[in-house]
Amino acid sequence: MTHTDESTHGASRANRKAFSLKRFARTYGPQLGILGVFFGLWIIFIIAAPTTFLKPQIYNAFMSTVPFFAIMAIPLTMVVIAGEMDLSFPSIMAMGMVAFLLTYGATPGIANISVRVMLSFLAALVTGTLIGWINGLIIVRFGIPSLVATIGTQFFWRGAVLVLSQGKSGTLSYVKESFLHPALVGKIGGTFPTQMIWLIVIAIVGWVLLNRHKFGAHIYLIGDNANSAELMGINTKRVRVQAFMLIGLFSAFAGVIASFHVVYFWPSLGEGHLLSTLASVFLGGTSVFGGTGTILGTFIGAFIIGAIEAATVAVGLTGFWTELIYGLIIVLSVIMHAYLRKRAE
């Protein structure tokens, strides 16, 4: 009797172990997958273009430019997990900078440049958040698909940027006198770009918000089954509006750091970031159908996208190729995800 008992016990324990291993693979599979892709590509790049990919400069270059779009890819991940889409963020980047310039221009009375720049910076962030809020309201109040609504607002705000700036670009050399310039886009120890620190902080805060906060829990639930979420009392409208506000806020932030980096304002600011941001999210394994996705995936996805841009140039292809490759990556990762999802059912 005792003997039988023990052996069943042992068997069930072994069973549990096997299952938990399987579960580990199921839970972290997509994230391990993207890590695998990351290292695989890295090796390919090193073999294809050793002179570029064995030098530390290229990695400093990544950490300097990838944050511009990766910072937006993190809140975009949340929007997509919630089953929504935002295509207006490139225009929000530029609108934030317009608010920055208008505020700076309207405050010549403030003698302290740092205070003046700080105030303009806050104006940019508030503007971005407000535009996100308007996006959210249009979507939840009128029940318009977010893809369509944000195509519309993308053009509207780009138009507003052109009207307000009269299509003129201009130097931002004065920001260099403000502490905000080194704080946002400085070089720590002369090499390490500060914006990388900001990206890491935003990624960690984003992870906590998505995985360890009620807000993130509701984002997943809404994207998974909005009807269930509503039946169980989640205010799906408010949560979705908040997600759009977040991407608005961080788009404005990204707009400021991208402009500070080159110490120049272009009215076309952000247009080059639409594809790379979207590609980071989808390559990172976030499902277009909503309900699943990770911050880590997006983070790694962004660096793969950055490396691909560098690699195409390094192996002698022109910049024209990057757009083609980003488009291909978006389509392939979306197809792959749809396929994996079907198989899991």
């Binding site: 299952f19 199921r26 360890r212 009392g233």
Partner: protein, 251 residues
């Protein structure tokens, strides 16, 4: 003594469709009321008004004699209403513990989740109440991988966990095996024994007859009649249900 819950002259229309018309419904303290009615009679619409999911087009809702003006799902849950919806209301791509605490996550005052506690509670519930024996099921498993009966079990246990005063079960036996159905009937009797109230909807007249103190029959959005269960035999009830379906009249 006040009714635990009362609907007065409640009507609900969806555009052209009049789903409920002048419903007067009461749920007593420690009473189990069974709702019977054909497909599309308006049973689910009625309970979704009680859970705050639908706002009535007209009429009043009272909890313990107090009129509640703008009932929402969170407000109803605060007032002690827990529901097993006909559509189950699960998020299948999420883990078991996230489903158990769906919309009612345990958090600190900053809104940060108490994940270890939710996992532990889920584990305890699974062993104690759900009686899940499959070793594949733990708080971290995805609900998508569960069987139909297991999914229904999640929805049921979730409703019982939060110490509700009023438990609403909309076709809870759907997809359950005989054994699981028997366990569910025991659950409902436990609700009664614990001094709580419940609304029980099922197409199986026998189940309703076995657990309900009172049976309310709904037909095409109106209350066609009601019976105290112990005043009527199962045979007579069955006959009447067939008559309602055919003629729209109980007698």
């Amino acid at each position: 003594m006040d009714y635990r819950l009362e609907l007065r002259n409640v009507s609900k229309s969806f555009g052209e469709v009049q789903a409920l018309e002048n419903i007067n419904f009461q749920l007593g303290q420690n009473e189990i009321v069974g709702l019977l009615g054909d497909n599309g009679a308006g049973k689910s619409t009625l309970i979704k008004i009680i859970t705050g999911f639908y706002q009535p087009t007209s009429g009043e809702i009272l909890f313990n004699g107090q009129k509640i003006d703008h009932l929402t799902v969170p407000r109803a849950r605060q007032l002690g209403v827990e529901t097993v919806y006909q559509e189950r209301a699960l998020a299948e791509l999420q883990t078991l513990w996230r489903n158990i605490f769906l919309g009612r996550e345990l958090t600190n005052k900053w809104g940060l989740l108490d994940v270890p506690k939710m996992r532990d509670e889920t584990y305890r519930l699974m062993n104690q109440s759900m009686g899940f024996t499959s070793s594949a099921i733990d708080p971290e498993s995805y609900v998508r991988t569960f069987s139909g009966g297991e999914k229904q079990g999640v929805a049921i246990v979730r409703a019982l966990y939060f110490d509700a005063e009023i438990i609403i079960l909309d076709e809870p036996t759907m997809g359950l095996s005989l054994k699981e159905t028997a366990r569910l009937i025991t659950f409902v009797r436990d609700i009664k024994r614990a001094g709580k109230s419940a609304v029980f909807i099922d197409h199986n007249v026998v189940h309703v007859y076995n657990v309900a103190d009172r049976i309310v029959v709904i037909d095409r959005g109106r209350i066609a009649g009601e019976f105290i269960t112990r005043d009527i035999t199962l045979d007579v009830l069955m006959e009447k249900m067939i008559r309602v379906a055919e003629t729209g009249n109980l007698d």
